[in-house]
Every structure is written in structure tokens, then in C-alpha cells.
Symmetry: C2
């Protein structure tokens, strides 16, 4: 299995380079379980979902603490057929598809309610894509049903879903959506935007 994300941090300030560099220290506790490569558009972070999502949460929360309007953007993927297996991605976090959707929803909701708070608010918007044939619409509908009960659900928009709340439960909600729906060997992607300190907030 291969899993990871292309991640970018956009601080809306003249000091954007300093904000990015100081926020990256939040990845330090996770670095030995991730592979990280940066270019001028994004940073590739390869690793299992149970490391990747907390690492993104900590990167986001550190940037949000700057007080500037910042946006974290990520293209997350697992099981892309074009990518080679990588031992660093080995994970026990993906759901057993023979488990009924209702049981997976219950486990996902438990994980979200157990998530520790970061004391940083997060306004997130994401699209989840479950590739391939078969029962993928059942999986997506099951996931949407879970999201609506998650406590972080804000609203549906065209092409995407909005979540809001503390960054802890918001990133936990995303992790559970990514892991518990769609076949474990299937190709699942998320197109994610998380915004902090926006002056045009509602």
C-alpha cells in the first residue's frame, strides 16, 4: 500500500516564509514515521493515515497559532494503482469491508469523540473520492451519514462538504472518513482545504 499527501501551507502575510518554516517544526515528533520531500509547490508526506492526519493537524494548529490568516491544502491518497508499495505506509487503520457500514460508522464516531482538542479552530472543506466500480456509492452514502453525526459537520456545498470545530476532532473526522469507507485495497483520495483566522469568516 502507498499512502500520503501533497501538502501546502498558505499564510496570507508578507512574513509567509517565516510562518511556514516555524510551523514545520510541528512535524518533528512525526518525522521518523514519515518520508518528506519539498518543492516550490507542495511537500510530499508519505506514511500511514494514523500518522499522516495527526501530523497535518499539528502543522495546521502551529500555523494557526501565528494569528495570521492561513490555509492548509492537501491532496491525500491511499491505494493509488500507479504507486509502488512502501513499507513506511504499513497500517492497521483501514476498515475491514466485511464489517457492516453501521459498525464502521459507530467506530468512526467513537474515534472523533475521543479526539483531544488543540484549542485551534478549523474551518475545513473537502471532497472524498472513492475510485473504481462496485459498491462505491454505498460507501460514500455511509460516509456522508457518518459525517452528519460527527459533531463537526457544518454543511454540504456543491462538490464538497464543510466541517467546523476544534482542529482535533476536525482532523479526526477526516481521518476516519479516509480510513473506514471504501475497500482497504481500493483507491481513495481527499481534496482538502483548512482555513484559520479568515477576516471574512461568516
Amino acid at each position: 500500500m502507498f499512502a500520503g499527501a501533497q501538502v501546502s501551507l498558505y499564510p496570507m502575510t508578507d512574513e509567509f516564509v517565516d510562518v511556514i518554516l516555524s510551523s514545520l517544526t510541528a512535524l518533528d515528533p512525526w518525522r521518523d514515521r514519515l518520508r518528506i520531500e519539498t518543492d516550490d509547490i507542495s511537500t510530499l508526506i508519505v506514511g500511514p493515515p494514523e500518522v499522516l492526519f495527526p501530523a497535518l493537524r499539528d502543522l495546521y494548529a502551529e500555523a494557526a497559532r501565528s494569528g495570521h490568516h492561513i490555509v492548509l491544502r492537501a491532496t491525500l491518497s491511499r491505494g493509488c494503482p500507479g504507486e509502488p508499495d512502501d513499507p513506511i505506509c504499513q497500517t492497521a487503520a483501514l476498515a475491514n469491508p466485511s464489517e457492516p457500514i453501521a459498525a464502521r460508522q459507530k467506530a468512526a464516531l467513537g474515534a472523533v469523540s475521543d479526539a483531544a482538542e488543540t484549542r485551534q479552530a478549523a474551518d475545513a472543506q473537502f471532497s472524498l473520492y472513492v475510485m473504481g466500480a462496485g459498491d462505491h456509492m454505498d460507501e460514500i452514502m455511509g460516509c456522508i451519514d457518518y459525517l452528519k453525526q460527527s459533531g463537526t459537520f457544518d454543511r454540504s456545498k456543491n462538490f464538497c462538504t464543510r466541517l467546523t470545530g476544534d482542529a482535533g476532532p476536525v482532523f479526526a473526522t477526516l481521518q476516519e472518513a479516509f480510513c473506514r469507507f471504501g475497500r482497504p485495497e481500493g483507491h481513495v483520495t481527499i481534496d482538502l482545504t483548512v482555513s484559520a483566522n479568515s477576516p471574512s469568516k461568516r
Copy 2:
């Protein structure tokens, strides 16, 4: 058919609000053929691909002209099964799937080489998702083959493809990828990032 995008502009400057507002004037010539709604995370732009992509190109080029490091981000979608048909999206731009892939590649390459230049450079990174069963891997491979010949292809990265060049041919390359591959009634999405004036450029 329903087509459109959730679009955000991220200027990495203290004057980000001014840069966003002045760049939005670039959409004026296209407004009567689009439906536009804004919230604090993104702007929904609904309309046919042959209007949507030139409008995004002009928005990007206007923001890039500010000289600041700016990023345009968009989640593009056509044919999402959850969205209602909308007359404003009526389009003749989608390919006839009974036309062989080679003929569609040739037409796409012609459109890119005919694209007018904007005199603004664009570094783009995108993922194209063709949802559903059937021949979608053939369509994706046909699209990748076209991209490599497009003149704007930079390189493949994990989870995405990089394009570089003048914004005119770069956005034309994206439009052709979105329209000419995958069934016209199918669900196709693009996760797009376009960057200008990055200080860490290569």
C-alpha cells in the same frame, strides 16, 4: 449536466484582501455566462468548461500580475451524480467517446497550440479523477499520453502531474484534459493548484 469549481485565491501578502478584490475584476467579461457565489473558504463558479477555464486563467493572470507570490486553488467537477442539471452548464465541449482516443488527443493538442499567451508564467499541479467503472484506466492513460506531448508537461509527481509555461497554454491543457477524456455523461474532477512568483521556485 452540472459543471463548475470551488475556487480560492491565496496571495502571500499583508494586502491579500486588496489583491483578491482587484483580481476578481478579471471575471467581469465572463460573469453573464457563469453563476458565482462566495463564502469565507471558496467561491463557487458554475458554468460550462469552455467558459470556466478561460475565466480561471484570467483570474489567475490578473492576480499574478500583482507581482506577489499567489496561488490559485480549484476543485473542478463535471457530471457529479449528486448535482442537478443546470441550463447554464450546457456545453458542446465534451468529447464524443465513440471517437478514438488518438483523434481526441490530436484535437486536444491542436487546442493547446492555438491558445493565446497571457504573458504570465504558471506552475500548475493537478490530479484528474475519472470516477466509475469501465474503461476509465484507458481514458486516464490516454490523457497522460496527451499531457506528455502538450508542450506544458513538466513532470509526474506522487498523486499529481506538474505543468509549466505561459498561463494561456497551461489552462488550455487543463481544459482539454477535463473535457476530452472520460465519458461526457461521466463524473470527472480535477484538484488543481497554480502558483506564481514563488520565491522558492526551483
